[in-house]
Each structure stands twice: as C-alpha cells, then as structure tokens.
Amino acid sequence: MSFLSLIGIEAGKIRRSKILLILAVATVILWIPSILNADMNFGMQAEGISPENNFLIQGFMGMAWFMFPASMVVSTVLLNMTERSNKGILKMLSLPVNTAELCLAKFVVLLALAAFQILMTVLMYFVSAGIVSQTQDYDFILQPLFVFKEAGLIFVSAIPMLAFFWLLSVCIQTPIFSIGLGLASIVPSVLMINTKIWFVYPMAYPFFVITAEYGKLASNLTTAQLEFIPWLPVAAFITIICLFISCLRFGQAERR
C-alpha cells in the first residue's frame, strides 16, 4: 500500500469526527474580541506599529500562544482514540503495513489539521478585517501575500511542537497523562520565550516566532529576534527524535 493511500485512509477515519468544526469554531472565537475592540488598534503609538499590522499580529499572537497548541493536543487525542476505541489498532497491525508508515501517515494528518486551522484563522482574519474596515472607516486589510507569510511561519515553526505532542500521545497510554502533559506544557511557553534557551522548548516556537515578527513591525519595540543557528539544528533534532521514537513505539502496547 502506498504512503499516499495510507494517508487517505487515515483522513477518512476522522471524517465524521466533527474535529474540523471544533477547530473552526475556535478560530471564529479568536477574532471576536479583536472586532469588538478594534478601536484600540489606533492607540499603539508608543509601540510604533500601524493599526492594520497590530490587528493582524494581536490576533495571531492570541492564536499561537494557547488556541493553536491546545487544539493540536485535542487533535492528537482524536487520532489516537479513533484507533484505540473498539480495538481498531489490532486490525491495522494485522495488515501487511509497516507500523512506522502508519504512524507517519497519522502525523501527516495531524499536520493537515494544523494547516487547516491556520488557514481558517487566515480566512477569518480577512472576514474580520473586512468588518472592522467598515466599522472603523479605515483600511485594515493587509496584502494577502504578507498574511500568508506570517501564517506560514507559524505553521513551519509548529512542526517540532506537533512532533512532540504526537510523541506524547503515542508513548503515554493513559489518556489523562498525555492530555494533561500536553496542555500543561503550553502554559510555561509565555515564560520560556523570554529566556535565552527558548529554542530547547518546542511548545514556545510558534509564539516566539510571532512575537519576533511583532518586534519587527513595531518600530519602538525590541523583542528577541530569530537566530537560526542554535534554533534550526535543535528544532530539527527534536522533530526527528520525537518522530523516530513515536514510530518505534507505535502499536507496541498492543503488540505485546
């Protein structure tokens, strides 16, 4: 069975799970306060950021710090639970399919869910920016290319985090520990981005990247900027190790 058809099967499994609805609702809720408090975007002279940039960045920061990582923890639960309930995993393991491939196919679906949520956020951004442009009589809509660049940055920087969450949900059989650890690990990311060793903490990457972008756009504000040298190798290392261990451990509890 080719890897592509495996991904298709995994995507089919979650078709009726309503996860897309949950992910979409979260993005709608994300932008509501931004629409209601749109006039606050004009009072950012101290930071030196233009209202339209501020509108985008504040929304994206709200997404990157809690909503996006937490939704991804929920998605990992979904991917694992569909398999474990009614012992579906036993059937999958009895097929002549490489378990590592199976694990990676699920991870690709997780990446697709992450991409979906980020795209929904971007879509909702354009909708809410359109609304705010009407109510505030000021053009809030930014160049689509720029918005997609920022969104893409969040997605790429989130891959190590997703690999870590995937590792948690594969290796820890007790659901409350994998969920609890995943959710609890998000909370300290606010502290971690202010330290020098932020690059060892994958959960802080998306938030760090977007905060760095904020510093770039706000002329009077200096935030820590991305330094690729310690970051990229460490991030790649974390991703590969997490995926490697999860591929090894996938289905191990059932194969005993």
Binding site: S17, I22, L30, F66, M81, I179
Partner: protein, 240 residues
C-alpha cells in the same frame, strides 16, 4: 454509594496522580518565580499573599482549569468507552446521581490541589517575606474563595463531558471554552461570570462587595448547571 463507586472507577486511569502532579506543578510556579526574580516583588507595598497571588495566580489558575477540564473528560470517557454507561443506566440509579458522584470526586480533587497550592503560597511568603500569624488566615480565605469559584468550572466541564460521547469532542469544547476565558478581561464583572473565567479571580486586594457578588454568582451558576444537567439527562433519556 455513588461516590465510592466513582473513586473505584478512576483507580487505574491515572486520575489521582495526574491531579497530584498538576497540583505540584502549579505549586512550583510561585516558588520558581520568587527564586528567579524576587527583587521585583519584595519592594511592593501590599500584603505578601496579595503580591504572590497577583504575580502567579493567572498561571496557576490556568493550570487548575486545564486539569479540571482534562479530568472531567477522562471521568466520562471511562463511562462511554465500551458502552459502560448503558449498564449504569440499567441500574436502579438515577443517571444524575452519577453526575453528582463525579462532581463530588472532582470537588475533592480541587480541594487537594488548592491545599497544595495554598501551602506553596504560604511557604513562599514565609521564606521571602517573613511569617506573620495573619498569613495562614489570609491564605485560607484566598483559597476558600478560589475553591468556590472553581466549582462552576468543574460543573461546567463535567456537563460538557457528560453531553458528548467522544472524548475529543468534550475536550475540544472544553479547550475552546478555556481559550475564550483567557481572552475575557478579568476586570469586567459581567464577562467574568463565564464559568471557565471565574477561577482567574483573586480574593486578595478585591473590594468586599465585588467578592460577595462573585460568590453569589458562583453559587447561582452551580445551581443552574446542576439543574440544567438533570433536565438534560432526562431529555436525552426520552430520545434514546
């Protein structure tokens, strides 16, 4: 009977260790914060407990809420997995009793984690600010208030968990609710009444009238969610 049954059900699910770990994790927050940057807090003119709560409670409350949501999902997951709930429904037992048994256990675990956190706050104020007799009373008042405001969250998350058969749906809705709560301004009274936003409130340094309003609101919310749950279960039974 229902309560002891609930204790037995969560025995091998890692529920108790998870709450203990979560409690200790939240308790470490003020200790770490004081250890790393105590100079930011020592010069402030306020009671030690108030300083510590202002500096750390947002994060601690967030951990508590996440723990409650995850715990609630797990509690009902044990029922829905392999259709155990159908057996529970055939017993000569009201389905709502199941809910209140779970609420009792959850409230107990909330007390446990709040005691751990309260001890940590007291320890911090003893170590960095010097202990006075009033600290204990103040810590107890603060955490009693925190417990009361946490109960609506526990009720709410268990309500969601009981309504959804799939764990990820209840967890997803819970996470969305927590996310909404983080975006609501804590100073706005009406918006803070959202059950998942209540635990972010701090007792120390708040006017007495506001504290009273929040306490009344929390009790009212508990009653409303309790009644809603009973009605919901009755309604669902009719259509099953």
């Amino acid at each position: 009977m229902s309560f002891s049954l609930e204790c037995k059900k969560v025995k091998r699910t890692g529920f108790t260790p998870a709450f203990l770990c979560g409690g200790f994790l939240a308790a470490i927050v003020p200790v770490l914060n004081m250890a790393v940057r105590s100079e930011n807090y020592l010069g402030l003119h306020a009671s030690s407990v108030q300083i510590l709560m202002d500096a750390n409670w947002q994060m601690m409350a967030m951990l508590n809420i996440l723990l409650t949501v995850a715990g609630a999902c797990l509690m009902y997951h044990t029922e829905y997995a392999d259709n155990a709930i159908q057996r529970m429904c055939t017993l000569p037992l009201k389905e709502s009793k199941l809910f209140f048994g779970k609420v009792t256990l959850m409230a107990l675990m909330c007390i446990v984690i709040l005691v751990i956190e309260g001890a940590s706050i007291a320890l911090c104020s003893y170590h960095w600010f010097g202990l006075s007799r009033e600290v204990w009373v103040e810590v107890m008042k603060n955490f009693g208030y925190a417990l009361l405001l946490m109960l609506p969250t526990a009720f709410g998350s268990l309500f969601i968990a009981s309504a959804c058969k799939n764990m990820w749906v209840s967890l997803g809705i819970g996470v969305v609710c927590v996310f909404t709560a983080t975006m609501l301004p804590t100073k706005n009274f009406i918006l803070s009444l959202f059950p998942f936003a209540l635990p972010f409130q701090i007792f120390a340094g708040t006017a007495e009238s506001i504290v009273r309003n929040f306490m009344i609101a929390a009790v009212v919310e508990i009653f409303i969610i309790g009644i809603a749950e009973v009605l919901f279960l009755k309604g669902r039974r009719l259509f099953e």
